[in-house]
Symmetry: C2
Subunit: 255 residues, 2 copies
Amino acid sequence: MPAEPASVALPLAAARRRRLRADRARQLADLLRHQILAGGFPDGVLPLEDALAADYRASRNTVRQALDLLRGEQIVARQPGVGTVVVCEKFPHGLERLQGLAETLHEHGRVTNEVRTVGPVAAPGPVAHRLGLPEHADVLCVERLRRLNGLPLSLDLSYLPMDIGGELLGCDLENTDVFRLLEQLTGGPLGHAEITLEAVNADAHSAAVLQAPRGAAVLMLERLTHLPDGRPVDLEFIRFRGDRITMSGVLRRSL
Amino acid sequence: MPAEPASVALPLAAARRRRLRADRARQLADLLRHQILAGGFPDGVLPLEDALAADYRASRNTVRQALDLLRGEQIVARQPGVGTVVVCEKFPHGLERLQGLAETLHEHGRVTNEVRTVGPVAAPGPVAHRLGLPEHADVLCVERLRRLNGLPLSLDLSYLPMDIGGELLGCDLENTDVFRLLEQLTGGPLGHAEITLEAVNADAHSAAVLQAPRGAAVLMLERLTHLPDGRPVDLEFIRFRGDRITMSGVLRRSL
């Protein structure tokens, strides 16, 4: 590589230093984020900047920049007279087993559902196809805004075949997971589900329904659940508020 | 519920209709999004609005609104003389097995890594703790920007204990998954990993590195990988561009 002329080298070196500083702040923010989500600051107050700098082997400037990043994500806030406090609460959704929201969060509080849409619709082609139904068969369409202890968590849209879904019309969809209702109706446990997770920016309407800022990061789950005999029974599109849900599990190297 | 006075009922009814229309457009957009990601439009061109309206049992207005939503997410674009074309490509990362990026995407192209940081650092307290090391022990810190066929996919930060990580310093980190290198160094397969997935909005610096818009949705993966004997060997923080990666797997109802 040819030597840089002195007039270029100085700005380049400065740019490199800025980049390094920004990298370090982000790296520290990631560690703090994990500590916060893991309940590492049980009283909800972060240590003072000096203590953080010592514990995380970082400069005070890096600590300050990292806290700025977490403030930008609305994970912490500065509270006069107290310091930096944790202001987010994320709830863990398991990736280990197929579970409904109320089941997986039962230790964290009560899940309630605002039923926004419920009723039969003619299945769009791809929905009929994925549920193994004839073209244009009716399906039950259910859309619910789901809350934990009153706080909006997710917006769930489900399509179910009418022979099973129709029975849901008389059920308590406001207080019960669809999985649990399906198991009551079919008399046994569900089988498996294919899932796909994505991170998307919320469109304006979804954001408004979820009471999140427009463009907020959303964890989007598409899930096709089957009965034990393999029959597909529930096609769902679920938008989780990114600031309120994490998904956790264990992966193994060999199957 | 008391009857609404006529002067209130009219705007309320109009608001309800608007909400319903917005719900329907989002619901259709979700179906189209899935079809697009599943390769349902192999020539990359969506059917005309009338055909979509028929296939998805929707009004033309709903189709138009749904396409607007997907355009807003930069999944499709309108191309004069051609119609609505698919402009995103998302790659599937498996949730079935513990795999490195090059392994899981080997059918989709070549993964290359720009090594941004590599070298020993004094472990921040929480890193030492999670890797089971003494306070302030040195760890190898590696940060890589990972690309698939030249396109930025993820920004990965790893912390590894020096007795194993130190050996990585002489390895080809630009072209090889760390998992594969670790297996070469330890002479056998890795064990398991605890993972946590979140959706977050990218901070300005991460977005710039990933060449994504500021605030873009990012799929954030925190992963602690263990050797077969249970020793933790690799603590990672990975930011995947939300518009380029999906995570897919199968969940079972009973374990």
